[in-house]
């Protein structure tokens, strides 16, 4: 007698959010590395390049007035909400600018991580609502040194490993950062690219 097959393993669905305007930048190379690695694992990758898709990051006055009206608040960004809610893994690829996300990525949080989508308000308390996301990763590059970032409290690291983590409660979180980009030599960048591949293969 052959054993009954166990529950079919659906492929993991990953949403990759990339936020760099220049296609031949190092960040773009990281972005392709991420997508290639995850597809190589047999994952279904939804590759969302915010610049290429011309995502509008500005929360408008109407958006703001309707912000708390669940579920109507998702109407202006419904397609993005669907893509986010379908994901089992979320990977952000972005450069750190002025100790934060690029505006286009920050605006994705402002407009798409809405009440009823990323969190629910339960008697004024924030309850995580993206718990389908079991894996969370960020791949990023800083102009400044690690020390300089640490002296400011490294805001982007906290944004990912705490703020984002808080609404997803993933099993695994990875924050892969290359600091001091302006002075990084080719071999340093190459090593980081390989490191990102290695980390995401076992992620």
């Amino acid at each position: 007698m052959t054993p009954a097959p166990t529950v079919a393993n659906d492929p993991v669905r990953a949403l990759v959010l990339a936020a760099h305007p220049v296609p031949d930048s190092f960040n773009a190379a990281l972005h392709s590395q991420v997508v290639r690695t995850l597809r190589g694992r047999g994952w279904e990758v939804d590759d969302c390049d915010l610049y290429a898709e011309r995502f509008d990051p500005v929360m408008s006055e109407a958006d703001r007035r309707g912000y708390h009206d669940v579920p109507d608040n998702i109407a202006p960004v419904k397609a993005y909400v669907d893509r986010l809610q379908a994901a089992d893994a979320l990977v952000l690829v972005f450069p750190v600018w002025n100790f934060g996300y690029p505006a286009i990525l920050k605006g994705f949080l402002d407009r798409v991580f809405l009440p009823g989508v990323s969190f629910r308000l339960d008697e004024g308390k924030v309850v995580p609502n993206l718990t389908r996301i079991r894996r969370l990763a960020a791949v990023t590059t800083y102009g400044g040194t690690r020390l300089r970032a640490a002296l400011c409290g490294d805001p982007p690291r906290r944004c990912v490993t705490r703020a984002m983590w808080h609404v997803c409660r993933p099993r695994t979180t990875k924050y892969l950062a290359l600091y001091d980009m302006n002075r990084a030599r080719d071999d340093t960048r190459h090593r980081f690219l390989t490191h990102v591949g290695d980390q995401l293969r076992t992620f």
Partner: protein
């Protein structure tokens, strides 16, 4: 003292507008000259483009798309930010102002040779004010690490003058604010402004 106020809120009748009124009336009564940059009302475009990034390091061209903003920053010796905190940070609109305006040659002096580091470029800014409203509590914000506050009062401050006088005030739990809590906050803002302009 010359102050540049960077104001960011989508709603004209928001509580942030009341904060702005408190700040400007203090500046007026203190006889301080100020300029107001209202990002939403002027339809500021916060997305740094590929073209801008291409000439990012070229200091003869990188300020062209935001010439007036750069002129304002260079005119001022005080920066005052008024905004709602969203996702523990600055709204995209305001973040984009930093991305596009604080370019090399304005905010940073880029390394010239090997072993050089990036150096501060806003050393003429001697006063920094940050006023915000947060949906989250002080506890949760602190637990997350207050990334928005740190971005300005540490990250931005690090490129301003040494010992730049810095004031900060936040109204937490904005969604359950009351008339009393809001007017308490406005008093706090006025007090901080007093300290900033003293």
């Amino acid at each position: 003292m010359r102050a540049l106020i960077i104001f960011c809120h989508p709603k004209e009748d928001s509580f942030n507008a009341a904060v702005l009124d408190t700040v400007t009336s203090h500046l007026t009564s203190a006889g301080v000259e100020y300029r107001l940059r209202d990002l939403y009302r002027s339809n500021f475009m916060p997305v740094l483009t590929a073209h801008e990034l291409d000439c990012y390091l070229d200091e003869s061209r990188n300020t062209q798309p935001v010439a007036q903003d750069v002129e304002d920053v260079q005119w001022a010796d005080a920066l005052i930010f008024i905004y709602p905190t969203w996702w523990y940070g600055l709204p995209a609109m305001l973040k984009g102002w930093l991305d596009r305006v604080l370019v090399p040659g304005v905010a940073f002096v880029m390394p010239k040779g090997e072993g050089d580091n990036i150096r501060p470029g806003l050393t003429h800014i001697t006063r920094l004010g940050v006023f915000t409203t947060c949906g989250a509590s002080w506890w949760l914000t602190t637990l997350i690490g207050s990334p928005g506050r740190r971005m300005l009062t540490r990250g931005l401050r690090a490129i301003c003058a040494k010992r730049c006088r810095t004031v900060f005030a936040a109204h937490y739990l904005m969604d359950s604010s009351t008339t009393a809590s809001r007017s308490r906050y406005l008093k706090q803002v006025a007090g901080r402004m007093q300290r900033l302009t003293a």
